[in-house]
Amino acid sequence: MRAKRFDIARLGVLTAALALLVVLWPGSAGVSYASSCIDCHSAFDDPEISGPAKKFHDDVHFQKGLSCVDCHGGNASKGYDEGDPDLAHDRKAGFVGAPKTADIPKFCARCHSDIEYMKKYNPKLRVDQYLEYRSSVHGKRLESGDTKVATCVSCHGVHDIMPVKDTRAPVYKTNVAKTCSGCHSNAKYMEPYHIPTNQFDLYSASVHGEKLLKEGDLAAPTCNNCHGNHGATPPGLMSVSNSCGECHANNLEYFNESPHKEAFADLGVGECDACHGHHDVNKTNDTMLGVGDEAICVTCHDQGDPGYQTAAAMATEFDTLKAMLGEARTLLNKAERGGVNVSLGKFDLHTADDALVKARTAVHYFDTSKFNPIIVSGVSATENVMDLGNKAMWDLKLRQIGLGFTLPLVLLVALALYLKIRQIERRKPIP
């Protein structure tokens, strides 16, 4: 009898412990809280109603422990079992449902602009998106009543929002251009705004688009690198160069020191984009400099004017360095193919190559007095390489001469030995 009572007590304690474990199990409360909304919405055939519930598991908010009611309010613990959705969608419990397009930025900003709240999830996350958005063309038009413009969900999605670093996110760097083009390449959609819709095509074919979209080079810019993201605005004529200068810092610095800075401003033309274009920035090549058929300089400069002469002089200097480098490289390769170690020459060749790269950037001085010293340093480094290349070639020649002498000598010795053997064996034959 005692043993039976003991067994019952033990069973009771075990059951209580198990119940406690279920209740206290990490995350168990959150999941059940969310799932009552999800259970109900998932049961509908209409994708408009079931879609959000089905997608939400991939959403960063869900993964951070947030539930439907954290955005939409309402009472998630009621309604499903009772078969009455109104109990869940109770306005008294703060239910707000789906916000209207015009309210979306503010809706998201309730949390995303709350510095204390956001710190709990990610202390590094910025909280000024709403402010920026309001300064953007999108934000301003939205405030003026245009609900066709992009809001948070247009770019980030809704109910399946992913972190920017997630390659599946529409705002991941390689996906941004495609996301923007969703609206900006839609001619019909963009018709009221009277802006071009070929930016994506131009960008895709540009050097930036090639690098990012085809080669996956994340250092290459996409739409938001020049236009901003939440504060998306077309850069003004004079501020385009500042966007470019974010990456091409030296080019911008040299350009600002150049005579073109003032001249372009006076003419009212863009800075970088005047020669390089903007969405369709092509890969630069050395023939852009000078007065040849493919040169950009002759677009504005006519024969006889000082700019024309400067362009011609810079191109000549540049081509000289480039030709010398090619010659030096050929020399080293020739010696190396011949088997001479040219590692020292190759090391110096890097210095000369660097000078050529610097010269390409220094073109933006558009001033021979600043450009030529860089060419001179390159020429000096190249001459050094040429010396080493010539020395290597001389070494190669010496080897060939040495080999030419040594081999016949060796064969001669072998022949002499052979004749000696014959002589010995003729005098004293082997028995």
Binding site: S343, G402, L403, V410, A414, L417, I421, I424
Partner: protein, 358 residues
């Protein structure tokens, strides 16, 4: 006193002290059998010639080489670019090392097929087998010394194999590397092994091998047709023929060193990824490739360990060949041993080619 009598007095003076007339007497009376396989008698001498080239060029390289991780690559680069004829010395050293191992292998197999290991030449064979193993040791230790990328990773893979040996594996690996990883300590260690330990042991085995060859003379293959073959005086007939071979070998070495100088490659970088197609020197390739084909686990034994065990038994069998071939000891042809020899040659060639095709 005339010049000739002065010279003969000097010769006599040295002879009294060194007794070289006895050596001359032995050489003059030594005979080398002449038959259709006599050509193989020259291979031992050819291997010796390459070894002598190794010593001479090695001493030259030693004058400039610095055995540290910081200086090794740069010093070899210096030898190749700045030191007059440094490139030639290094290339001769590398080419002659490879030719030495090649000739050592061919010499071993020629001796094997002619059954020259049979009584009373068992010790000559054993000392020769040890010399081949020592040559491989020279090759393995010397490969790392330029401290380039390929050598670094090949040594890493090579010494990793040691770690697979049960119980003492890790200890052996640490002893070989001078630590857990291939570092400057490994380089210094390999250098010491390459220029001091191996030469010392090799000198002992080489002298023993040569003394035994001189004492017992050249072996005649089994068979009645060889019994009454002609005999060529070792000196000067055979010695001069040897010299012709050495002269031609020297010419070949100079030709190879000049037209195909040994490359230096990139400096070793432990943080860089291993170069593609990494493999050891050609003479280790058949073993390397075999280990690649053995599955990770064979029954319950580690596959790599099984491979190492197999090569260990193979090495032991090689040393014990004279005692395994009882027929040869009784002057009888042993077709099974000959067949085994051909299978081993075929295996080495096929697996080496496969390693290069991988």
């Amino acid at each position: 006193m005339s010049d000739s009598s002065r010279r003969s007095n000097l010769v006599a003076w040295f002879d009294q002290r060194l007794g070289w007339s006895t050596i001359k007497e032995v050489a003059m009376h030594k005979r080398v059998p002449m038959h259709k396989h006599s050509i193989w008698y020259y291979l031992g001498g050819m291997t010796l010639f390459c070894f002598l080239v190794q010593i001479i060029t090695g001493i030259f390289l030693l004058l400039y080489y610095r055995p540290t991780a910081e200086g090794a690559f740069e010093s070899v680069e210096f030898i190749m670019t700045e030191v007059p004829f440094g490139w030639l010395m290094r290339s001769l050293h590398s080419w002659s090392a490879n030719l030495m191992i090649f000739f050592a292998f061919v010499h071993l197999f020629s001796v094997f097929f002619m059954k020259a290991y049979r009584k009373p030449r068992e010790l000559t064979w054993i000392s020769g087998a040890f010399l081949l193993i020592l040559s491989l040791g020279f090759g393995f230790s010397g490969y790392l010394l330029p401290w380039n990328q390929l050598a670094y990773f090949a040594t890493k893979v090579g010494t990793d194999i040691l770690g697979q040996i049960p119980v003492i594996g890790h200890w052996l690996l640490v002893v070989a590397r001078g630590g857990d990883n291939v570092t400057g300590a490994t380089l210094t260690r390999f250098f010491g092994v390459h220029v001091a330990i191996l030469p010392m042991i090799t000198t002992f085995f080489l002298l023993a091998h040569l003394a035994l060859v001189q004492k017992q003379g050249m072996s005649i293959p089994i068979g009645d047709e060889y019994k009454n073959c002609r005999q060529m005086p070792f000196f000067p007939n055979f010695a001069l023929r040897d010299l012709v071979g050495w002269t031609l070998a020297l010419g070949t070495l100079v030709l190879l060193a000049s037209i195909f100088p040994w490359e230096l490659g990139e400096k070793a970088d432990a943080l860089a990824s291993a170069p593609a197609g990494i493999r050891p020197e050609w003479f280790f390739c058949f073993m390397f490739q075999t280990l690649k084909y053995i599955p990770g686990k064979v029954w319950f034994i580690n596959g790599e360990l099984l491979g190492i065990l197999g090569f260990g038994i193979g090495g032991l069998a090689l040393i014990l060949v004279p005692f395994l071939d009882r027929k040869a000891a009784h002057e009888q042809r042993n077709t099974i041993m000959t067949a085994i020899g051909w299978v081993v040659i075929l295996y080495i060639i096929v697996f080496t080619v496969l390693a290069y095709m991988d």
